[in-house]
Symmetry: C2
Subunit: 330 residues, 2 copies
């Protein structure tokens, strides 16, 4: 008969290394072991298994991710909106008329109702004042400088640290299995490119987004790309599959979103032949992040949620599927 | 005293293996050993040498190539124009009115003067008739089918074999040294994507070009991208640096063109910090291909040639720099 101590040692010797091996090989450690995680892993194993009827060649392993609300936070407003508000305040000393003119006055007074009342035209004025009239390099630097100091108020962290750790693991997991990962976001492409490589491992050339027009010009013999106060492309809703076709030229086999703005991208991806992974992040965690869906001003999830339920797409329940929300402080 | 035969053997034993090693390690075997080749190789060795002040990290090794006249032929007309003419003839039985209406009548009668006389509006009508009104998949198949049977008349080869072997070697050489190679062409992006991977090793997502608008629509519950008869973007001249910024989001460190349409891309590339390789292909070989530059209707090379000479960019003299023009028959 083995003594209890010896037995305990035996169990430890067997169980602990097993757990260690499991922990090391778990590609999604921040995900609870629920159906969402199992579906993701089953999909990746299926499409990467050579000889399997579901095998997908490397070149076709394209995965597209929405950004706001899918990879980083979008409440209480889109981060790019926070940038616009901060930037107006920063530039205000050079524009005394803003004190009396909407939508600028509303921004300076913190009167968002007045800003919203100016509608699309007001938003365009804010965009023009904060996003245009400089070269692409200058705008890159403005965004980089802002991100270095701006903080999300609820979490008191830089915005580019308010990214979802489980999604970062998912990006790494897909890339580790030969996927090319893209952002396809309604956000401004040049607002994202300065920081996506560090935050997500996604290089500038794999970021697709909304854009304003730019103009090539020679200034003192030096070529410049000047940003113009004119919309070029809105990468949202029907625009997402259009942009995927225009920028990537292949249909993804996996697509990830969180709102009705992503519905057409998910539909376009789902409609291809062969295995597909279609996933919506559902914000259900009012304690650790936010809980919102059908009534939200930012990231409204209504029709796409119905379609996901009807078609059996993965709907991530943040509260129950994710062990942690954000990456640990850096 | 060694006998002459023994001496010859010794020389052979020394020289031939040396030549073999050299031939095996020559990354550009179809290039003569002229200044153009030396400049290319010196640039690549410089930017890939770790610890060198000119070293460029992998992620920034972006090279952009024009297509028409830089990677494949563009005489006696752009290949895409040959596609349009063939396609009009193919579709004509379903359009009896084309027999009497310009610009279609001119195409059917082989009267290119009449076609040209219809100007930009006529060209748009031809584009609309041949490039729009079908889904992106349908257009992909139309292009693929056409390329399978169409032949360049001068060389009696499929167009996608009328690609310049020295440039294909250059693409491979750059990729072998960690470069990401892109096409940035005035040609239609969806006209190029079906065949660039096989011809050049450039995947669809690294092809940037001109485009018409597409529309996302649901047809019997199935999402489609329908091609519309409306210009979206002209990727030529000032459009090239604009597109590079929009699609790639990084400034290339090497750029390759052959006409004034590439001048702004070359200027934009040249204006970045650090080492740059800027190259123009000059069509100087009337016997093996074509000789043309300042007066040509297709691929006019005038201002860009002056700038290249003034700034010391590489100007490839096809006749003297290239041992062969096209790849061997497949």
């Amino acid at each position: 008969m083995a003594k209890p101590g010896f037995l305990r040692l035996c169990i430890c010797l067997i169980v602990i290394p097993g757990l260690l091996v499991w922990a090391q090989s778990d590609p999604l450690p921040s995900w609870n072991d629920t159906a969402s995680k199992k579906t993701i892993i089953a999909f990746v194993e299926k499409v990467t298994k050579e000889g399997s009827p579901d095998f997908v060649p490397l070149s076709q392993r394209i995965a597209t991710f929405d950004n706001d609300g899918t990879l980083w936070i979008e409440q209480p407003m889109y981060v790019q909106m926070a940038f616009i508000l901060d930037r107006v305040k920063q530039l205000a000393p050079g524009h005394p008329d803003w004190k009396t003119t909407q939508p600028f006055r509303g921004v300076l007074d913190g009167d968002m109702k007045a800003v919203v009342a100016t509608g699309e035209q007001g938003l365009m004025q804010l965009m023009a004042a904060t996003h245009a009239g400089m070269t692409v390099e200058q705008f890159h630097n403005i965004v980089t400088d802002w991100l270095a100091t701006a903080r999300d108020r609820k979490f008191n962290r830089p915005y580019n640290e308010c990214v979802y750790q489980p999604m970062v693991e998912l990006l790494n997991y897909l890339r580790g299995n030969g996927f090319k990962t893209y952002i396809v976001s309604g956000g401004g492409v040049e607002f994202m490119r300065p920081w996506t490589e560090k935050a997500y491992g996604i290089p500038p050339e794999q970021v697709v987004g909304s854009s304003i027009k730019t103009k090539f010009q020679m200034v003192n013999g030096k070529p410049e790309l000047m940003r113009l106060p004119e919309i070029n492309f809105i990468d949202d809703q029907e625009g997402k599959p259009v942009a995927i076709n225009q920028f990537i030229g292949r249909r993804p086999i996996a697509a990830f979103g969180n709102s009705d703005g992503d519905q057409q991208m998910l539909e376009w991806t789902a409609a291809g032949d062969g295995p597909r992974l279609i996933l919506l992040v559902h914000h259900t965690d009012a304690v650790r992040e936010y809980a919102y869906d059908r009534q939200s001003s930012f990231g409204k999830l209504d029709k796409a949620l119905d379609e996901a339920n009807a078609r059996g797409w993965v709907v991530v329940d943040m509260k129950n599927d994710w062990k942690v929300i954000f990456s640990p402080p850096q």
